[in-house]
Symmetry: D2
């Protein structure tokens, strides 16, 4: 699939400020970036950095007093891998690749230790594999209400489990937490999301089942094979799209993604989808 | 039913200490105290106080350096009120007696505000009444594991809901929390509990349904009509059996209760039980 | 001092709703109510209840669909007791009146157990008495920023201690928490507050020192002898001015209080102030 | 300095279990490993993995029913870099190497967002640089009590800040949290610690000041230049020395480290110490 996507962010700075951005499409072999443009007006230096462990691409901007417009545009081509979910089993901890083991640990927003007993009670007896993670997503979709503005940057999986409300990042954190509690490595993915309404940055998660990372979206708001990855990490603490040092006010942002290859409107896939470089 | 009950507490004091005790049977018209003895050895003054709002009986002891043995014994007669659960409905907030309204508020250990959405999803559609509170107790019994030493004095209903483990006080806190979230007044009750194994102080809760307070025990560890009340309050913060000021070490305590009127071993009642003075 | 005070609350109800109000001046011997009027338009029944343990006055209103205006007005005369702070000592737990002991326990918003070590380190060596509680208030005033909208109904003393920001109710909760941690009984007081800018309901606290309850306001926003009490309790969970059951939207409310006896603008008192019935 | 160090861990396994160990000395150019031995008896396969982002070395052992003894021994030589603290300034976020930026984010145990206001009030006006981080360590040493067994695996910096008690890992988490809140990158370090009494694994932290990572130990329990690194990461969630899957019981473990080159007992250094490969 081919996509045209981008975002426009406008900030009103008082004094001066340093901004760390993570909005560019992750570079890896699962995606081919035909073209991309990153502009800041008025023009400033925008240093680049790619994290060694995750491939997340960061920009650092030092902004003077006044209004600044940041615009990113890209044309990308992406081929999702589709598999039969029934054929994807789980890998016991004793056989997992050692580099995925850190994704079994609890993290800032994912207290998999505290939720272990519940996860075992609710999902422990299910057949291990892709279908078990799908069952976790069904549970989250059914038992947690998607409520805009119901959470903030301090909200954890424990909070979401208690209040039964949240937004996409909270849904992803809860999915990650249950997976880790069951011994399934899981990580957070931020992305541009085709068909998401209204358009916005989107948060989903990946679980390591079978022999690779598969995508899951407990909100059911976007097509899995239309997720163009920006960042990945343990949880949202690793993948904020913007971090500020100094005083600035954001204006409403715009995010867009359109499919640019010929296609009929397809129904959402029921297959397992993987779009990962590892 | 007639019971012979009591407890023996031994403390090793360093320096001097003040001890506030709440282990005596609550005086109210639901129970008749045939005899009771409260002794401290070596002998010290033991001031008495009965809380105006709850009827809880407190003792204050000022203890010098050394070992102190506190012993309480009582013979009581108690008549539980048995009703048909199916005949006990709920009272809407608009018609509740105004004096029970404070038992709808969240308290130290019972975050009924945070758990409101879950309570409504899980129990909101059930027929209001005694049977709905019984369903809450069944849920707690089935979904939370009774695990000795799994909680401490800071553990709240939110924690128990998350970790799915706890002891009797945690079970009671969770029951109270769900009730309040649904608009059912609920309060904490500490007691001597006939048939509890091993013998100990026991925590249960009361919900205000129909026209009075009914007892509930989500642990299913004791007979409801064998609960001889010590204290009642919003939650465990109101009903600690011992509070210390100063340095002392407790030795293992003994608690006992025996039925003293002739009786066959009866199966646990399936009726609604109320033993309250209000 | 004589005051004319009141409030006007407007609610837009959808469907129907039950409202529990606690906005009327507490009746006790420390205040004389010359006149008061409570009106609801359109007219509905407004049941009254006075809590046995606190003297808090509640109203229950059952409101139909539509807009409802609630207005309370009172003329009161109040005589504060002024004492020399230096003459007010603390009472050891071993000698406190037994009925104030529950105000040593932790409560919903006041985790005095968790903050005990800090309280002892920071205030433990100060001379016991009114001046120690004044020092606690100075500490809160200096170390916590008063930031409008920085907290919500879930915010606890532990949160305020961590984030170092809050509003009047958070300041009061933190003061109560430190006092209890030091063995000084403390309780929450909601009030009309003369000279508070902008006019609003105000939250302060009382500590039991010497032989009575003295008022403290760590925000320093109002005159202590101009606090006309509405409610008192363990913390804000006991003294909400309005609790809703059903769906309603509040419109902006008005609260007012004016001094009506002849007086010069007096500087804030440096004396200890008590206006309590106990 | 040359050290002979090691540990012996004994586990009693029921059924079978998978164990992930992180007890071997980190391989990097700051340390030279003259020899090392890793043995398990009875013999099992011990797969090795070195994390790409941190250099942490993991072993995975699959253990059958019964008792297993794991022993690690190493002879290492390490040269610490000593600098004049007064010459080490801070680097503004606008100039930090981009790869250290993730160490400014909050993590599982380090809520630097919630403690930002306190950090700024207490340390914000101090001269930036190594001395400011040293002042943070002094503050922790003075204001938090080192109390064995006072925390567990769920304890966060917010908890430690509130309760003012903890062990080495809690001290490190609090130091990391304050640094990040001030814009100073900070990370967790687990180590063998020369002179630590009683011998055990030890947790300290590193802050990025000047042009490199410097070591800090708010517990003041070990010599900075005698810290032989095992693991590093955002916080303790990244550097557990043992993670279990399955049922096993640990027996008391032994940890040792001795200095093997000729040396007089030296007083603790007052210089800034860096022993890092980055």
């Amino acid at each position: 699939m081919r996509f045209s996507l981008g975002c426009e962010l406008v900030y009103q700075v008082t004094g001066s400020a340093t901004l760390i951005l993570n909005v560019e499409v992750m570079r890896n072999r699962a995606v081919s970036i035909a073209s991309e443009h990153f502009t800041v007006s008025p023009v400033v230096l925008a240093e680049e950095h790619m994290a060694a462990d995750t491939g997340n691409r960061f920009r650092r901007l030092i902004l003077a007093e006044g209004e600044h417009t940041i615009r990113y545009e890209a044309e990308v081509e992406m081929t999702a891998r589709h598999e039969d979910p029934a054929a994807i089993g789980e890998v016991p901890v004793s056989e997992l690749p050692l580099e995925v083991l850190p994704f079994l640990n609890p993290s800032r927003y994912c207290q998999s230790d505290e939720l272990a007993r519940f996860a075992d009670r609710e999902f422990g007896a299910l057949t291990p594999g892709h279908s078990r993670v799908a069952a976790i997503c069904d549970w989250i979709h059914d038992e947690v209400d998607y409520v805009s503005l119901s959470s903030d940057t301090g909200t954890t999986a424990k909070d979401t489990f208690t209040t039964r409300s949240g937004v996409c990042r909270d849904f992803a954190h809860l999915g990650i937490t249950f997976c880790r509690a069951l011994g399934i490595p899981a990580r957070f993915v931020s992305s541009y999301a085709w068909q998401l309404e209204p358009p916005d940055f989107h948060a989903v998660f990946e679980a390591y089942v079978g022999d690779r990372w598969y995508l899951f979206d407990p909100t059911r708001k976007a097509a899995l094979d239309g997720l163009v990855r920006i960042g990945q990490g343990r949880d949202a603490a690793d993948t904020a799209f913007a971090i500020f040092y100094g005083r600035m006010k954001p204006k409403p942002m715009r995010v867009w993604i359109e499919r640019t290859d010929p296609h009929a409107e397809e129904p959402p896939t029921t297959e397992a989808v993987s779009i990962s470089a590892d």
